[in-house]
């Protein structure tokens, strides 16, 4: 079943064309990696899929909804409920604890935190192995811990898609391995679709599918 579908996607920044007629589909529960050199357009592609940016041409369908026809508030709702983001630099809210950070997508959606939500947040923190530091402020966590909190947070609203932009780019090889295993575990456990941008060949090779972007075009698309 297709979760994401990109049809003839073009993206310009001013006069410069970043993406050229991209056509891609992603199936539910698939674990995909996108590789490519810096400036090839992979982050732009991920931002378009994540509805953070608007394509200059073409159509993007997420869970069969055409996002080009949605207003800003509907896009916010879609991001909140169906997409989870993991960025390279963690992007936790430093003013909040690990647990509060994990709960944030839920708070944006539901305003009041229910007992079940609190339980889920605790379970997710347990899943990423951070139950002991859940009440620490985000600033008191190590790089690896922050990234794991970011992963737990991306899962809070049980999204169907997780978009990760170099999630292990800032971490040592041990942590990278652990994070990757964790993402895989989540993929199997929740049948969540993953699209991961990575420079790390080892990570890319462990994905079900590798897409290489070169100068804004799909250069390689291998499914194992």
């Amino acid at each position: 079943m297709e979760v994401i579908s990109l049809k003839n996607i073009n993206k310009f920044y001013g006069e410069t064309q970043i993406l050229f007629d991209i056509n891609l589909t992603f199936n539910k529960g698939s674990f995909n990696s996108i590789i490519g050199q810096s400036g090839s357009g992979k982050s732009t592609l991920l931002n378009l899929i994540g509805t953070l940016d608007k394509q200059s041409g073409g159509e993007i369908l997420i869970n069969n909804k055409n996002i080009s026809k949605m207003n800003k508030n509907s896009l916010s709702k879609l991001r909140n409920e169906e997409i989870g983001f993991i960025f390279q630099f963690h992007y936790l809210l430093p003013e909040f604890t690990a647990l509060e950070n994990v709960l944030m997508p839920y708070k944006i959606k539901n305003k009041k935190v229910s007992k079940e939500a609190l339980m889920r947040a605790n379970e997710l923190l347990e899943l990423v192995g951070l139950e002991k530091v859940k009440n620490n402020l985000a600033t008191k966590l190590s790089g690896g811990q922050m990234q794991r909190v970011a992963i737990a947070r991306s899962l809070m609203n049980n999204p169907s898609i997780i978009l990760a932009d170099e999630p292990t780019g800032n971490l040592d090889s041990d942590s990278t391995e652990k994070i990757y295993e964790l993402l895989r575990e989540i993929n199997y456990k929740f049948n969540t679709t993953f699209i991961i941008i990575t420079h790390d060949k080892k990570v890319a090779e462990k994905a079900d599918r590798i897409i290489e972007i070169l100068d804004g075009k799909i250069n390689l698309d291998i499914t194992k």
Binding site: L52, I108, K109
Partner: protein, 382 residues
């Protein structure tokens, strides 16, 4: 809303020093506003009290010298802004003591009723207020000039050459030398019995403190119910220079307060604009997580509100303390305050509300700035 408030309070809490400094900035502005307002208010009240506090503020006179239907006129005055109404019989006489003559205005009114206007009882320095027929009280300046003593009998002659004898039962000091020298107060009945039975020369009135500047409007209303035979005057007609002085004070006080508030608003607006930049990373990730632009806007409106409430509370306390210390330490040689501050609680509450609203208004531009922040730009810049 809840998430916006939680974000706003947490953002402010995460940088306590900055938050305290902003609140102090607002507080100082509000305290200056309250202090200046109280100071000018006190100054005005003192001036009004000294100049028109113990006089008639609205006076009805007949075009003929005296009139008799005063009770009917008083009955018809139903304006709620009138605090006191006093029928008065006033007559100019000539007082002769030891071959020296001076003019004495004999003013007769119900002393109990007139106390509200003339504050006679508290102004007595010797003796008692007139109660019986032919009793009179004289001012301290006249007493000094003619060496008058208690229970002395004095004889005055009115314009009809009637000679009347009064017994001095007390001496007053109303604080104004010309009054102390020229006026003798007696009962209305005495005055009427001596000069004209059942008549009065004027009806004097004072209004509530809050209506002091509306006496012209009130006197117009009173005039409407009277025939052309009567003239209604008010203190504003007679004290144009005082009035313009008071208005000048009010305007300058208002201008100071407005400029203080403008500087507070500009200060908050610029500090909040910097805060938006400081928190752009957080706003970016929150928007990526689905925070709506409108909610992101509300976050900074809440920041303005919290800062406004905190700052205004500090300002009210500082302003109150400043006013209190001014009345405690800025004293005349006799120990009385240089200026009696007028602590008007409704003015303080109004200043508080204005400060809070100003802070919310000041936060609108930075809030809009936060709503416009683009997630992709933030991610790229980081």
């Amino acid at each position: 809303m809840k998430v916006a408030f939680s974000l706003a309070s947490r953002f402010l809490n995460s940088n306590k020093t900055q938050t305290i400094f902003i609140m102090l900035g607002i507080g100082v502005g509000v305290s200056v506003q309250i202090f200046i307002g109280s100071l000018i208010g006190g100054l005005q009240n003192g001036l009004i009290e000294k100049t028109i506090g113990n006089t008639s503020q609205i006076t009805i006179k007949s075009k003929e010298t005296t009139f008799t239907n005063y009770e009917e006129i008083i009955k018809n005055i139903k304006n709620k802004e009138i605090a006191d109404i006093l029928p008065v019989y006033e007559n100019s006489t000539l007082l002769t003591i030891d071959n020296n003559s001076t003019s004495l205005i004999v003013k007769g009114f119900d002393i109990g009723l007139g106390d509200h206007i003339y504050n006679i009882t508290n102004s007595m320095v010797e003796g008692k207020v007139p109660f019986k027929d032919n009793e009179i009280i004289i001012g301290t300046d006249l007493k000094k000039e003619y060496n008058l003593i208690l229970n002395q009998e004095i004889t005055v002659v009115d314009k009809n050459r009637n000679s009347i004898t009064f017994k001095i039962v007390g001496f007053y000091d109303l604080g104004v030398s010309s009054v102390n020298k020229m006026f003798g107060f007696t009962t209305l009945l005495t005055s009427q019995n001596l000069f004209g039975t059942g008549q009065v020369s004027s009806i004097e009135m004072q209004v509530n403190n809050s209506s002091i500047f509306k006496t012209d409007v009130i006197s117009e209303e009173i005039k409407k119910n009277l025939t052309d035979n009567y003239v209604v005057s008010n203190w504003k007609d007679a004290n144009a220079s005082l009035l313009s002085g008071l208005q000048g004070q009010s305007i300058s006080s208002l201008m100071i307060q407005i400029f203080v508030m403008i500087s507070v608003v500009l200060g908050i607006s610029s500090v909040l604009a910097i805060t938006v930049m400081q928190k752009s990373k957080q706003i970016g990730i929150l928007k990526a997580m689905g925070l709506k632009n409108s909610t992101s806007l509300v976050v900074f409106i809440f920041e303005g509100l919290i800062l406004g409430i905190g700052g205004a509370l500090i300002g009210v306390m500082l302003g109150y303390l400043l006013s209190l210390s001014f009345t405690t330490f800025a004293l005349n040689p006799d120990g009385t305050p240089v200026i009696d501050l007028y602590i008007n609680y409704s003015f303080i509450i109004l200043s508080f509300i204005i400060a809070v609203i100003s802070c919310v208004v000041a936060s609108i531009i930075p809030a809009k700035q936060s709503a416009k922040l683009n997630v992709v730009d933030i991610i790229r810049n980081n």
